[in-house]
């Protein structure tokens, strides 16, 4: 067990956990931020996606010790003032079905748009390939990303 000071969604959290503990479980079990989901535990499916300094990472593959002082952003903290444009686009396109994968999809999409406000379909595919959707909402996800990109630009 070790002490860590995590910056999650703009708030400092002092926690005492094993350094090997995946960030996912720190978020879900210790900080009770359950919007981030567990899928496969091996980084193959994506619902555990969070941002470290704005970049999407798989929290199930990120040990808490490796986070350091980087800023962790989860789906709960994505929209600093109300909803993030990606979240708005998601609602407008009615993308989710069961919704389980969607927080990860949104985090990946937000990370993509932060670095590339004009993504092509191919760039969207590249950025989103790690996020599986069992309900098959990819078509709407792609549309929602384009819509969000438009909103961010305007």
């Amino acid at each position: 067990m070790a002490h860590f000071a995590l910056n999650v969604n703009g708030m400092k959290h002092a926690i005492e956990v094993d350094g090997d503990m995946p960030l996912l479980w720190v978020l879900r079990d210790t900080l009770n931020l359950t919007g981030t989901k567990y899928g496969c535990g091996i980084g193959m499916c994506g619902p555990c996606t969070v941002h470290l300094n704005g970049t999407a990472v798989r929290s199930c593959q990120t040990s808490v010790a490796s986070v350091g002082d980087r800023k962790v952003t989860t789906i709960e903290g994505l929209g600093e003032k109300g909803l993030h444009p990606v979240q708005k686009a998601w609602i407008a396109e009615q993308a989710p079905q069961s919704g389980y994968c969607q927080s990860g999809q949104i985090m990946s999409a937000a990370s993509l748009l932060a670095s590339n406000p004009h993504p092509t379909d191919a760039q969207i595919d590249d950025a989103m390939v790690g996020n599986i959707c069992r309900c098959g909402t990819y078509f709407r996800i792609r549309k929602a990303i384009h819509r969000a990109a438009q909103e961010i630009r305007s």
């Binding site: 899928g39 496969c40 535990g41 091996i42 193959m44 499916c45 009615q94 079905q97 969207i124 595919d125 590249d126 989103m128 390939v129 790690g130 996020n131 599986i132 959707c133 069992r134 309900c135 098959g136 909402t137 990819y138 078509f139 709407r140 996800i141 792609r142």
Partner: protein
């Protein structure tokens, strides 16, 4: 008759066929037998005329008197015959039958339904005949026609696609009517689905966005399952454990989706998972359109080695049966191994479906006979225990015997001695003196040298009798105080008693040992018999398995279908006969132990005839049988597994043509059977004589002929292999 054809060619008959819709410019008349169906009191007929403008005229034998015939019957007819009820007019033709009152709706109901169905079937039959398609490929269902028209329009069905691209269509009725078009690109065996277009008629759409979402989800879900998501089973469980080896469709493979709903104000009929049904067939049809290859296994892979039997409607080259089994080089073992669920046979290295272990019922018999040797032994032991073994009992018996000997009997038994010596001498045929001496030796001493047998028993009895006789005499000699007493001192009637008991004990032990030995032998025999029976069952089972093996049956049926398609009806009929004979001989046989060679050859020939069609030019067969050998009896299913081995291990592994030779001839009192193949490379062979099949054959031969058989399984030069069996000639 003019019928509108909206042919969607390139679709599969097994999934959803080329759909042809029929306009209603068909003139037909259907009539039900008067009074056949209406109630006895209200007999009724229905005549239907379909006019060239696709309106229908319904001729009734009942008059409308306000019962509602004009309203109900056109609707009924329209529903049954897939007509438009607004275009049905009623003609009252015969007022003499009467009104029938309100019951006339009922009495008209069944005749009208039947007549309506006949009209519908007549339209379909006409279309099928005129276009030379199956009736099952035609529909009159307006809902289905509407979605097909819609999806064809939206997908641009008639627009040509570029090279390596194909379009496929599928339709279905669930709660809703659905039709879907898939567009694929197949380059270098990579299947890419570019676009899926779905048209749906589910009545009034209550939540358009939700319904669209449902359809899109259904399409992607199915796309994932037909392109990905292979699950393989090993040791009773799925091998795939997580998303690293269980692959789901991801966003780059997700195509453009279009969903169109028929604008309908009918009651909502539900939507549910309907989209899931269509995507697979539509994609399979599109792949066929792009490549001419039918894929019949999911997930779809272009390297699937499945034979296809439907040549495309658009003049595809005919498929020759020889293609049905590709040579090994054409396979991709890694894929076959991983995705087909097939296991590799450790014996032959060939893939296929093998039983991992014998079926439980084959080896599950108890080997003990129904009587219980344990109980018998227990009885035997307890009966022995009554008079033997315990020192006190021994003493009691001894004193009782000695008293009885001393006081009850006289020396009249002494004459037995020469008699006994004579008998022993006669029996053994050895020098008399030696025999005489041996008689005085307690038989128990010889027990260790040889097992107790009749001779030993005789010796022992003689010894006892002699001892008894001498014992009686000795008493008298003692009483007379003669010199004889010095050397006969050791002989007393008491000793007789002891020996009597000793013999009793020994007999009992021998008895137990004998009975135990008997049972052990009986069990061993029973086990042996059961083992042979099991092997016979196994041989039969193997024959059955091979012949009924789904692949075998599947390939055979495919080959037959291809023959039919190529117009080679005679060959197709022949092949069906062979299949019939094989099924008959394997399913009906009550497994006699031996059958005439001619009968065994029939099975083999039927089997070979089918393999011949499957392998076509790759397999040459020569069967040479000495006519005088035909009536010889041979163990049932002796040859078939050997021939099967020759084909499976020899010909199937052989990339060039192969020859299977079977000969049978009589050599005096012997029958010689030989099976040879010009097989595969030597390296791919299992070692001679190591196969389970050969081992079983050998054991069965040993059972039937003991030492009087010979079986040699050996590789010959140049990868050839021979199994030669020599058995005694038995006339049937």
């Amino acid at each position: 008759v003019r019928i509108t054809r909206r042919g969607f060619l390139g679709t599969s008959a097994t999934l959803v066929g080329g759909i042809f819709t029929i306009g209603f410019q068909l003139r037909a008349m259907a009539q039900d037998a008067p009074g056949a169906i209406g109630s006895a009191a209200n007999p009724s007929d229905a005549w239907i005329h379909i006019k060239p403008d696709s309106s229908a005229e319904l001729v009734l034998t009942r008059s409308e008197m306000g019962q509602g015939l004009y309203t109900s019957l056109p609707m009924l007819l329209a529903e049954e015959a897939d007509l438009d009820w607004n275009n049905v007019t009623i003609v009252q033709s015969d007022l003499s039958v009467g009104t029938g009152g309100s019951g006339s709706v009922i009495s008209n109901y069944l005749p009208l339904r039947r007549a309506g169905a006949q009209v519908r079937l007549a339209m379909i039959a006409t279309a099928a005949r005129d276009w030379n398609v199956l009736e099952s490929e035609c529909t009159t269902a307006k809902g289905l026609i509407a979605v097909l028209d819609l999806v064809a329009e939206k997908a641009g069905w008639n627009k040509p696609l570029g090279p390596h691209r194909g379009r496929g269509i599928a339709c279905t009725t669930t709660y809703a009517y659905l039709a879907e078009v898939a567009e694929v690109t197949v380059v270098d065996d990579n299947i890419r689905v570019d676009r899926l277009v779905m048209a749906v008629d589910c009545g009034q759409v209550v939540n358009p966005n939700g319904a669209r979402s449902q359809i899109e989800g259904g399409m992607i879900f199915t796309l994932s399952s037909v392109l990905k998501e292979a699950i393989t089973i090993r040791n009773g469980g799925a091998e795939q454990q997580n998303f690293d080896d269980y692959s789901l469709l991801r966003i780059p493979e997700s195509p453009a989706l279009e969903t169109y709903f028929v604008d309908s104000h009918a009651d909502p009929h539900g939507l549910g998972e309907a989209a899931v049904w269509l995507t697979g067939p539509a994609i399979a049809n599109a792949i066929f359109a792009a490549t001419g290859k039918r894929l019949r296994r999911m997930p779809f892979r272009m390297d699937e080695t499945t034979a296809y039997l439907m040549s495309a409607a658009a003049g595809r080259p005919p498929i020759i049966p020889a293609l049905l089994i590709p040579s090994p080089a054409a396979k991709t073992p890694a894929y076959t191994e991983k995705h087909s669920g097939a296991k590799t046979c450790p014996e032959s290295g060939r893939s296929g479906v093998f039983l991992a272990k014998p079926l439980p019922w084959v080896g599950g018999h108890h080997v003990y006979p129904s009587s219980t040797p344990k109980t018998r032994d227990a009885e035997r032991e307890s009966s022995l225990g009554r008079g033997n073994g315990h020192p006190a009992a021994l003493m009691r018996a001894r004193s009782r015997d000695s008293q009885r000997m001393q006081f009850d009997y006289s020396s009249s038994l002494s004459h037995l001695r020469p008699c006994a010596v004579g008998l022993v001498g006669l029996r053994c045929g050895r020098p008399m003196a030696h025999r005489v001496l041996q008689v005085f030796k307690p038989a128990v001493f010889s027990c260790g040298c040889r097992p107790p047998g009749p001779a030993w028993l005789f010796l022992a009895l003689t010894h006892l009798l002699l001892l008894g006789a001498v014992g009686f005499a000795a008493d008298e000699w003692h009483a007379n105080g003669s010199a004889v007493a010095v050397w006969t001192g050791a002989l007393s009637i008491n000793r007789f008693g002891i020996e009597f008991l000793t013999y009793g004990f020994i007999f009992a032990i021998a008895g137990i040992a004998g009975i135990a030995g008997f049972h052990i032998r009986a069990q061993r025999d029973a086990m042996h018999a059961l083992e042979l029976e099991r092997q016979l069952s196994a041989a039969q089972l193997r024959a059955l398995q091979m012949q009924l093996e789904p692949h075998f049956l599947f390939n055979t049926l495919n080959a037959i279908a291809t023959l039919v398609e190529l117009g080679r009806q005679v060959e197709a009929a022949e092949m069906l006969c062979h299949l019939n004979a094989i099924l008959k001989s394997t399913l009906e046989r009550t497994t006699p132990e031996k059958v005439p060679l001619s009968q065994e050859l029939e099975i083999v020939e039927n089997y070979l005839a089918i393999e011949q069609v499957r392998f076509a030019d790759r397999l040459h067969i020569e069967i040479r049988v000495d006519p005088s050998a035909l009536d010889s009896l041979i163990p049932c299913f002796l040859l078939q597994p050997i021939v099967e081995n020759a084909i499976r291990h020899g010909i199937a592994n052989c990339e060039e043509n192969g020859l299977v030779e079977a000969t049978a001839r009589r050599e005096g009192n012997l029958l010689r059977l030989e099976v040879r193949d010009t097989g595969a490379r030597v390296s791919s062979r299992s070692k001679p004589g190591s196969g389970i099949g050969l081992k079983n054959t050998r054991e069965r031969l040993a059972h039937f002929y003991h030492e009087a058989y010979e079986m040699v399984a050996r590789p010959l030069e140049a990868g050839r292999f021979e199994v030669a069996i020599t058995i005694p000639y038995e006339r049937a």
